[in-house]
């Protein structure tokens, strides 16, 4: 604590008093919360593997080999007798004891924008209400202590389908996801960077400090006469940005510290290395990390949107997904982190069971698959099932609010906990009427 106070002082070169406005809204309450919560259970984290575009359930977790809708995709055995998944995920099949497959997800939203918003916030878009992405709301709920890193970090998001689904909504910018983008250099050397985290190379550390001191001179009198939200928020975000610039926590982004063989196991591609980064962030106490699998390259689009040539496209994507996800689980387990880290795999919807004339599958919100695993989840089971042709849910349909409630419970959170929204109405973590699936919880 003492160190933080020092750096704050140095940053603005001010007496404590003139920054009282920011202090009150900034880190003091967090410190207070930390004191209250100490001595509780170990911190929990959540990793969302987001499949942008809507992955085919038939080629991943609900193969229908033998039926014409199943196409050429074969089913394989897993480490749990009786549970079979698609042939494209052979490594992951060995992890089934820690995974719970939901084969009965159902919504009415077949449009990318609305469905992306729904699955990522747990709520349908509704007038003026700005729902936060689950990463922001869960990150806020799970964060235990003041940290140099934000509570929600988003790796390689593809936001264009629904930009509103990637914001902190009514929670405000303090809970905005920190966006991290990958860069692939020569020989598939993937690195990650937070844009603009480093000062220009020609500036010495001393010069940067001088600049911040000058900024403090300017802010001092302005804040004193205008103690308003935009001014205080400006100072607060600069303070947090500088703390991050100077923090040792950002070494989390230096993947070269990892063993080469482990990096290889995750896969030398943006998603694989993104999963490794997720583990490093969780290790440093970041409560929510999401890794998007959009396609095979850095700036890919919604790769799972396989309207044409579905079978090759999904097989290629699974070639990236399978080692990355598998290694993430084993790596977390070896480090004793898996029991406190819930891993979610999902997209915004599934694909049509019927194969279209282009060898593709179109949008299908009615009956599709999502997977939960790791901490808080009772693995080794399948929940819900669909008809032989894949068109209808046979039992245990799971609505989006139910999924959200289950995730909350898995993370040790009460789904009925509320945050105050921009229209003054308290909004629960999971929508009213949500029921957690008890059978999936430990």
């Amino acid at each position: 604590m003492a160190i933080q106070r020092m750096s704050r002082r140095r940053l603005f070169g001010l007496s404590g008093l003139s920054l009282l406005g920011t202090s009150m809204s900034g880190w003091l309450p967090r410190l207070a919360a930390q004191v209250q919560q100490s001595g509780q259970s170990p911190p929990r984290s959540c990793i969302l593997l987001w499949m942008s575009g809507g992955p085919s359930q038939m080629e991943t977790f609900d193969p229908h080999a033998g039926h014409e809708n199943g196409g050429p995709t074969k089913a394989i055995e897993t480490s749990v007798p009786g549970i079979r998944i698609a042939e494209h995920l052979p490594k992951l099949a060995g992890q089934m004891q820690d995974l719970a497959v939901i084969r009965s997800m159902t919504t009415k939203e077949g449009d990318h924008t609305r469905a992306t918003y729904y699955l990522r916030t747990g709520y349908l878009p509704q007038g003026p209400l700005l729902y936060p992405a689950m990463g922001s709301v869960l990150g806020k709920s799970l964060q235990r202590e003041a940290s140099d890193l934000p509570a929600c970090i988003s790796i390689n998001p593809f936001r264009a389908l629904s930009p509103a689904a990637f914001t902190s909504g009514f929670l405000g910018p303090a809970w905005s996801p920190l966006v991290v983008a990958s860069e692939t250099g020569a020989e598939n050397d993937v690195s990650f960077r937070v844009r603009n985290l480093k000062s220009a190379a020609r500036l010495s550390g001393q010069q940067v400090d001088e600049r911040l001191r000058l900024l403090g001179v300017l802010e001092q009198s302005f804040l004193a006469e205008r103690p308003d939200v935009p001014v205080r928020s400006h100072l607060q975000s600069y303070e947090r940005a500088v703390r991050m610039m100077k923090s040792s926590s950002v070494e989390a982004f230096q993947l070269e510290q990892e063993d080469a063989a482990l990096r290889e196991a995750y896969g030398r591609n943006p998603f694989g290395q993104g999963c490794l980064l997720a583990r490093r962030l969780v290790e440093r106490g970041v409560p929510f990390v999401e890794v998007s699998l959009n396609g095979l390259t850095d700036a890919a689009g919604p790769g799972w949107d396989t309207h044409a040539d579905n079978f090759k496209a999904v097989a290629d994507l699974c070639g990236v997904l399978d080692p990355a996800w598998t290694t993430l689980l084993t790596d977390l387990r070896q480090r004793g982190l898996l029991q406190n880290t819930l891993v979610i795999w999902m997209g915004e919807f599934g694909r049509t069971p019927k194969i279209n004339p282009n060898g593709g599958r179109d949008h299908w919100p009615g009956s599709w698959s999502a997977v939960l695993g790791g901490g808080g989840i009772r693995g080794g089971q399948v929940w819900g099932s669909v008809s032989d042709d894949g068109m209808e849910i046979r039992d245990n349909p799971v609505r989006v609010p139910d999924l959200m409630a289950t995730i909350c419970r898995g993370l040790g959170l009460d789904p009925a906990l509320t945050n105050l929204s921009n229209i003054g109405r308290p909004i629960p973590l999971a929508d009213h009427g949500a029921t957690a699936i008890e059978q999936l919880l430990v």
Partner: protein
Amino acid sequence: MANFLALLISLCLGPVPQQAVLQPAVTQGTESSGVVGRFTVAEAAAEIDRLFQQAWQASSVQPSLPATDEEYVRRLYLDLAGRVPAVSEVRAFLDDPNPQKRAALVEALLDSPAFVRHFTILWRNALIPDAFDDFGNRRMIPGFEAWLWTQFSAGVPYDQLVRELLTAPLEAGGGAGGPALRTASSPLAFYAIRELRPENLATGTSRAFLGVRLDCAQCHDHPFDRWKQGQFWSLAAFYSGFSPMDAESGMQMVMTERSDSHSIGIPDKGQTVQAAFLEGEQPDWSGGRTSREVLADWVTSPRNPWFSRMAANRVWALFMGQGIVHPVDDFSENNPPSHPEVLQLLADQLVAHEFDLKFLVRTITASRVYQLSSRQTDPSQADSLHFARAAVRGLTPEQLFDSLAEATGYYQPYRTDNPFVIAAETPRATFLDLFRDEGESPLQRETTILQALAMMNGDFVDAATSLENSQTLGSVVNFPLMSDEERLETLFLAALSRRPSEAERSALLPYIEQAESASAALADVFWALLNSSEFMLNH
């Protein structure tokens, strides 16, 4: 003449002690016949000042000091031109001995293309607020802006602008989803972002033009307000002629409209309602008008109190940071106006002046309340509802970037066929994307870490504060006849539109004079100025 009077009043107000009771220039109020008298700008501004003086006294509020010329010139440029003034513009204004210079500057800016551009962006935000949320909708924005641009540059009255929007034929511009809209001038984005759904268009119309939030009434009777589900769908029925969009593809491949359709079924209720206006008034279908024409005639009627009050409230909020009804589009019995008489005066005068938005702009900017300082000089000014000091508010992303460009001397290349189409990789596009704000109120504007990092370390500000690449900094450093003090002053004028205070001068000047490299020290100062909340906010 009107401007002259307005100016006299605003000038008289300047030095008057805070408690002084203001005499209105004219004593007439609204006329008893129900027809509202037409005020001059000076009369309207004086009446607003009188009403606020009364309100402040009643609440024991001490208004802040009058804004200095430095505060005023920056605020006015941001509010009318969408950017901070250039150094030369600040100097010209500060040195101008003309006692009418504040009103003269309003007139000069109202006549400038920058005003058309800025109002285009403000009204785009107001009319298609969710356009940036959807990839498909984003490409329609330039066409909508181009349409607004033609309206504002031609000085089209507000009622006509809205009427044109509400009755726009679908075919214009090659169809709402067509690629032609990328550059074609068309208001159809208003329909496209609402997916041509009658229910979305009903909520959009009522929020944008009537200030009524019907959203909840779509599914059930409004829990706190008087709106019933039937009323909602009666309004939606005016839009019932649109062919439904293809749900699977999300595309508007073929759009048709039965222009005489005016009934609609309430989903899941098996009940059909006929089109009716907000409070149940029955439309007159004679004269062969289309459903949307009938709706537009009612919405934009001078006798529709919702329409003029909403417009007046919106313009007030654009200049004061917050509506007299706040949020700006939430007129409701549970959300009364803070200063109902001021709102009514503005609404009445908007009607009396044939929906000339510039009349409201002139009136508001001439008022004492607009010309207050943002400095808090008394605790009673803390609540923004009193309008007892100028609001400290966030900039639109466009205001911020255009201000950065102005302050640093960055030349912005625009496309000639449609200046609203922005190439994706330009610094402007990157900035607009990063600083796009989801929040509703500029008074609650918050900064994200990524925004702070972009300002501190990003390429654009870095180039602007490096000696090789910055126009402003380069010319300040290289101009041989300037003293360091004059250099410091010029940088302050470029970024903050003011000269440094004594305290700032004594803190910053030694830093420059004692530095190994004075030019590097000036770059540091310029960096700090551009990163300050004073630069990044309107106040």
